[in-house]
């Protein structure tokens, strides 16, 4: 019973703290496509919104999402200044395929590999695809798991809102 009470206390604490928007975790190490290490504090977009999308090479919905956005990415960038950062959770089995996969698909996104899944854990990602929208202040304002054709429209609305807030 004690355990349940404690768990409840923890969840309540969680609820209180939730009142504020969480920010992106800093100083978590991820890998750039050239093999060098990068800290998550380097994920920045000059006060404009960012989309952070967790994906994997073997995940079809993830690939559909990133390919769908690719078609409209330039328009989105012009309209809102948004930057998409794609975080691959591929492990050793497929991590070496990430770079050719990205180039082959012609994705113009910033892509990182989170092989040890530290970033994934810090962001509480359970399934892929899992997409976050971060506003100009670095706060996570929206998140969504799963992708279906058409849902990129909803994402754009959120990004527009975040961009408008940032501009204020």
């Amino acid at each position: 019973m004690k355990k349940f009470i404690l768990s409840l206390v923890c969840l309540t604490m969680a609820g209180i703290a939730l009142a504020q928007n969480a920010t992106l975790p800093q100083n978590i190490t991820i890998k750039a496509l050239d093999g060098s290490s990068v800290q998550t504090s380097a994920l920045q977009n000059d006060g404009k919104p960012m989309i952070i999308s967790f994906w994997a090479t073997w995940c079809k919905p993830c690939n559909r999402e990133l390919n769908t956005i690719k078609e409209v990415y330039e328009e989105w960038q012009e309209e809102t200044g948004v930057k998409l950062i794609a975080i691959s959770i591929d492990d050793a089995r497929s991590a070496t395929r990430v770079k050719p996969h990205v180039n082959g698909n012609g994705w113009e996104y910033e892509v990182y590999i989170d092989q040890n899944q530290d970033f994934k854990r810090a962001m509480n990602v359970v399934n892929v695809p899992h997409t976050f929208v971060v506003n100009g202040k670095g706060e996570i304002v929206w998140q969504h798991t799963s992708f279906v054709e058409g849902s990129e429209e909803e994402l754009l609305e959120i990004v527009k809102k975040a961009a408008a807030e940032s501009a204020e």
Partner: protein, 555 residues
Amino acid sequence: MKINYKHYTLLALMACAGLGANAQGIMGGHVTGNIQLDGQISSADSIIGAQDVPEKLLMNARADILYTNGDFSAGMRFEAYQNPILGFNAKYKGQGIANYFASYNGERLSVTVGNFYDQFGSGMILRAYEDRYLGLDNSLLGIDVVMRPFDGVTIKALAGKQRYYWEYGAGLVRGIDGEVNFNSIIKSMADSKFRFTMGAGFVSKYEDDQTIPYPENPSFKLNLPLNVGATAIRADLSYGNWGLQCESAFKGQDPSIMNDYIYRKGQAQMINLTYSQKGLSANIQAKYVDNMSFKSVRSESGEMLYINYIPSITKQHTYAFLSMYPYATQTTGEMGLQADLMYKFKKETLLGGKYGTDIHLNGSVITGLDTSRIGGAGTYGYTTAGFTPGELYYADASLEVAKKLNSKLKLTCTYGYQIFNPIVEGHHGDLHHNHVVVGDLTWKLNKKNVLRFEAEWMGSDSKYDSNVDDKRCGDWIMGLVEYNFTSAWFVSLSDQYAYNDGVGNYYNLSVGYTHGATRLQLGYGKQREGLLCIGGVCRQVPASNGLTFSLTTSF
């Protein structure tokens, strides 16, 4: 009782740290987390391998709570298995705080105490990780220090014991790893097209002595090494569109139940060459593994307590029939080759049509090693004939063509051929030769309504034999219809049916609702274990028969 009060003390400290920070007016920090519930109301079905469940309701639950305040973070995980769902080891039964940690993440130094996950390179000598859907958790309980003394250099040192269900394995794991990115430390290379990263690591495992009888003569026992060391060196080079990754690992004498207590040393070699440009990517990969099973407890034969991780190089397929025979790395010995080619035919070309066409070719061959046996436990084990291949374990080839037909229709067609040797799953038998054809059509009715159809066929020369009880044998057909209303709702209906030489009829109806990072899914029917991608996400699912439900949420 699975937990002791030390954990609570730590939690209290973590809570106080958070509150203290609040009181002093420093940024209050954030609590985030995720909750996952998976349940089954299951009935036995020998045809699909779902076991009888006397409890009727099986449920796994877990909640990760993470507190972050600037560079400081702390977290814990509550897990409850009452009782574990099918596919999870019965040793998980119980509930409690399975995982807790406190961590400082500075710019130059990170320290984690408690349960942590980390890996050296690709994990050939050390990878502490978890796969929540497979019930795998190799987290280390101990201390993990990561130093970045200057840009481009990372040094890790760690020590701990591995999680074993609700306990910790007796073996102590210690390791150190260094990685240097030459483009960062050598100024003249900073903007070079040539990118170069190198790393090396050592891992040592200590385990107390125990009596393992020498089977040839029971009055003798094996003289066990108490310290087993492993080392790996790796390099990641790229020049423009070209990339080359290699990693080489060696392990000292490590007699264990996994290698039948032989004294041969282990090694693993991996090399990967890639070329990519816009619209074209290719990679070729070779792997050689000899006696590289590395566990922190020598007598553990199950899926737990692996210190290292040697992945399969075969492609991770996501269509049901293509992934029906997944290939698992034979850490005791295998060699293989894999090649992958992706090409996009441009728009407005003969093959590209109006929207372009993607083709994806993939092939792999995995064999055993060509070995000569010396003896069993208490001997050197075997010798190998260098890099000569042995018995065929697995081979596959697949061609996938994806084409957008018009603004509403997108079609993907896949053909795959597989040869599967049941020996990789520990059974002797004939090779299975399978042909698989998949058609996948997405029909975007309008902005909010999307229909998806999937049809699969598998022709196999294997026949169901009740003595072997491999439920994948025979010829199969499958159909799937999925309807999505925006990304919020989906309904999917599918059926897999063995129409020739096989047994089984796996029908499944699933309904899902997603709102933000919360997702609820209900299913009814018979489910084969494996990777399942419906409703816009991919996840590993266990075999089940009956009603299943799943809730995940992040906050």
